[in-house]
Amino acid sequence: MMHYSDEEIFYIWLDGFSRFTATDKNTLLQKVEFLSDFSFGAEYFFGADVTPEQRENYADLQAFLADEAAMRNLPQIFTADNVFCIPKIHHAYPPILRQEPDAPLVLYCLGNADLLQSDKFAVIGSRRIPPAMEKLTESVAYDLTERYAVVTGMADGGDTAALQGAAQGNKVICILPCGIDTALDKEQVQTAAAHGLVISPFPYGQSAMKYCYVKRNTVIAALSEGILLVAADEGSGTLSTVREAILRKKRLFAFPYAPGVAAGKACNQLIKNGAALCECAEDVFSAMDAPEKGDADFSSLADPKSDFGTENRKENRTNTEILQKNNAKDLSEEQKTVLEVLTTYGESHIIEITQRTGLNEQQTLIALSMLEIKQLAVRCGGNRFAPNVSNKR
């Protein structure tokens, strides 16, 4: 159980006191040095032109601080739910977030608080994501937990995939766009809390309004050292996180998509503008280790002997290769043929696969089902299949 100082309780109370506007709260916090300052009149904080409303709210504040029982009882609401509050003045509050101009007054947390101290990396994506990329997200998020705590939201699709992957590494930080008590998917919150940390930058009772998502995205961008965009169409809300990250000069990564795939347009756009292309966690690790490049230097690749760096970066092989090597021995000839066609052409319809392999439809279907059971292929709906490029199985 967490013990709060009087000052911390004051922060928690102030955060939950919705009648004060954000500006008023800031004014108060800028001028106050000790809690005893609140024995002064409202004019001390708000100047001579204090409004009756401000005066009334200030009176409430004084009353709260005077009432010792109320102060002691306030944290009990949270302890009952196992939620612990980290006010801005608390030592555990991430310093990088504290620098933000409108940093949340209090972080309401559920789960493993130690994760706040670890390095953080965001994996985000819009709700519409192709099934194969979903699997890839899950495995990359899991691999990232080797070095980072993975920060993500709780939306369907990309976020959920990242959450599930990182939860398996017990290092997921999930940021809610609403109060912890008002989260819609309670089960998901519990999962995330059991395998990591759930943070809400909003007080209890706050429902998920549109502006909350923007604020949530800001928190994700501010907390993380880098961001991996797994799926987003043009105009997707997820891009607000990316924008915030660009403003804060965070490192950007994106999954590559085939041209014309709507769910990946923004990802490709990001890569065109200089974000790093990411196919596996190793891509992130090596890029984060290397100093940020200015202009790209391709001179080394001009050498005819160059293998485009693939040999030197053994660890960085795409998972498809690893996967093919590891599993080829268990596969029948037909399955091997089908897998080869899948990895060569990417997502295809079963008829296309049939034509390319020269097998009949029934053989293809059986081979594909077997590959699916062995987690080497993914069903994308409409009898379309894609190779499973994630290395988790």
Binding site: I351, E361, I373, R379
Partner: protein, 506 residues
């Protein structure tokens, strides 16, 4: 004077013997009818009065009491017109020396004395035969219905006068000659699989479903051809055996929608609209308990187009009959069990916009929307659907291709062979198809090799299939093996069966 004739009434699919007793006494002219008769039976007095007079006989102008026994059973319909009229004539000494005790009389009278056809004659004849009755007089229009039952004499009469002349021996009616049953070779189905372009996966699934009587769900975008595929089902359905045909005909006879043939020779294919109520689906109604769509689809196919549009209650009511093959309808007038062993074929879109999984068109639905749409079909119901297959939009090249697809006739010949194997397998049990196997039969007929068990175990882990799906996968695998003429289920069969259950695992 007192007279007695025999007749039958229907309770569900079972005929119950009714004795019609008529007593004529001196007194003021009156016609009293007792014995729990409903309105149609009570009204018969007027029809009988006119019919007797118009047949050249005299309607007694004294006190007439008619009793329908046993009194505790509710009597419905107009089938008692003939037995009452004959007993009135007998009681009024107009049929001297005529013995009616051997006959079962059934028929509705017209005012001119003609006999009108009835519903439910076939089940009555079958029940009466088992109770030892051998001679029947029925309306001429029902003659065909009766012609498939041997060992009885059925005299089809056109009018009351013919009945009187037959019974008095003046002009005996020739009995209906027994016809042997032959399933309709020429299917009335105008759809043919050769017109369906592409869709090889779906066609294969259709073949398996029909061969083993498995339930089938077609998932696909609008315009992909789900309905067209489903409408081809009758064209590949195997012929009915006589026993099956008799079961089907009994139900349709009670429902009153038998054709001229008198027997149903093709498997029923019912397509109730999605506005159908639970009563329409399961049976019931205001006038007696009529069989519902699922009973009318007995031994055939029930096709539910756009399944999520049906009301939840209607869909859930299918769960128990899908397992048991019968439905028991309970109403104030009694509880009646109808057979309802049908193959369910349903179609639906993959998501609200319909484009999920389409290569060309863009799906605008979020995973949550898709989930919500799918949730309209409950897990337990989806679990009872053995084969779930995705039908995808046909590509234009396929559409205009001249290469003829395989015709229904050749698919049907394979289906017939698979059914033959199943019939031999289940010769001792009272089931016909693999889909009807219970746990005990699965253990006997579907031994699995180590390798198969291993694949099953792995697929359950990987694809998150429900535990209940196991036996259904094995049943489908059995059918696939039958289509392969394989004695034992091999891993390829299991894997193919699993590939048809992936929709629910997503």
């Amino acid at each position: 004077m007192l007279a007695k004739t025999n007749s039958f009434t229907l309770y569900g699919l079972e005929g119950i013997p009714i004795e019609v007793e008529t007593d004529i006494n001196y007194g003021i002219a009156a016609f009293e009818m007792v014995g729990l008769a409903d309105t149609a039976v009570k009204e018969s007095k007027e029809r009988i009065f006119s019919a007797i007079r118009n047949s050249g006989r005299k309607f007694p102008d004294t006190r007439i009491t008619v009793n329908l026994a046993p009194a505790s059973i509710r009597k419905e319909g107009a089938a008692f017109d003939l037995p009452i009229a004959m007993s009135v004539l007998k009681a009024s000494d107009q049929l001297v020396g005529v013995d009616l005790s051997e006959y079962v009389l059934l028929g509705e009278l017209a005012l001119n004395g003609a006999l009108r056809p009835l519903v439910g004659v076939l089940p009555i004849l079958i029940s009466a035969k088992s109770r030892g009755f051998r001679k029947f007089i029925i309306p001429f229009a029902n003659a065909n219905e009766a012609s498939f039952i041997g060992d009885i004499e059925v005299f089809p009469a056109r009018s009351l006068k013919e009945v009187i002349d037959h019974c008095s021996g003046y002009a005996p009616i020739p009995p209906v000659s027994v016809r042997s049953f032959s399933a309709a070779r020429e299917s009335a189905c105008v759809h043919d699989l050769s017109y369906v372009k592409g869709q090889t996966v779906a066609k294969r699934a259709l073949e398996i479903a029909v061969s083993g009587g498995h339930n089938l769900l077609l998932v696909g975008p609008p315009g992909a051809g789900k309905t067209m595929l489903a409408k081809c089902i009758p064209s590949i359905m195997p012929d009915m055996t006589f026993a099956e045909a008799l079961e089907v005909t009994k139900i349709h006879s009670v429902a009153g929608n038998l054709g001229k043939d008198g027997i149903i020779t093709t498997r029923p294919f019912r397509t109730p609209h999605h506005s159908a109520t639970m009563v329409a689906m399961c049976g019931g109604g205001t006038h007696g308990v009529k069989p519902g769509e699922i009973s009318l689809a007995h031994n055939g196919v029930l096709f539910l187009d756009e399944m999520p549009e049906y009301s939840r209650a209607t869909l859930e009511s299918l769960r128990q009959p899908l397992e048991d093959g019968v439905i028991t309808v309970n109403r104030a007038i009694g509880s009646i069990t109808y057979p309802a062993s049908f193959t369910l074929c349903a179609s639906m879109n993959p998501c609200p916009c319909g484009n999920y999984g389409s290569g060309e068109r863009r799906c605008t639905c979020t995973p949550a929307m898709r989930q919500k749409y799918r949730a309209r079909i409950s897990g337990p119901l989806l679990d009872r659907i053995d084969i779930q297959v995705e039908v995808d939009a046909v590509r234009y090249d396929d559409l205009i291709s001249r290469t003829p697809a395989e015709s229904s006739a050749s698919v049907r010949s394979r289906v017939e062979k698979a059914r033959e194997i199943q019939r031999n397998r289940f010769a001792s049990a009272d089931i016909y198809t693999n889909s009807q196997m219970t746990e005990r039969e699965i253990r006997t007929f579907c031994p699995l090799s180590e390798e198969c068990e291993e694949i099953l175990r792995e697929s359950f882990m990987r694809l998150h299939l429900s535990a209940r799906a196991r036996s259904r996968i094995i049943k489908v695998a059995r059918t696939i093996a039958d289509l392969d003429f394989a004695e034992n289920i091999s891993p390829v069969h299991i894997v193919e069966a699993i590939s048809y259950r992936t929709y629910e695992s997503e």
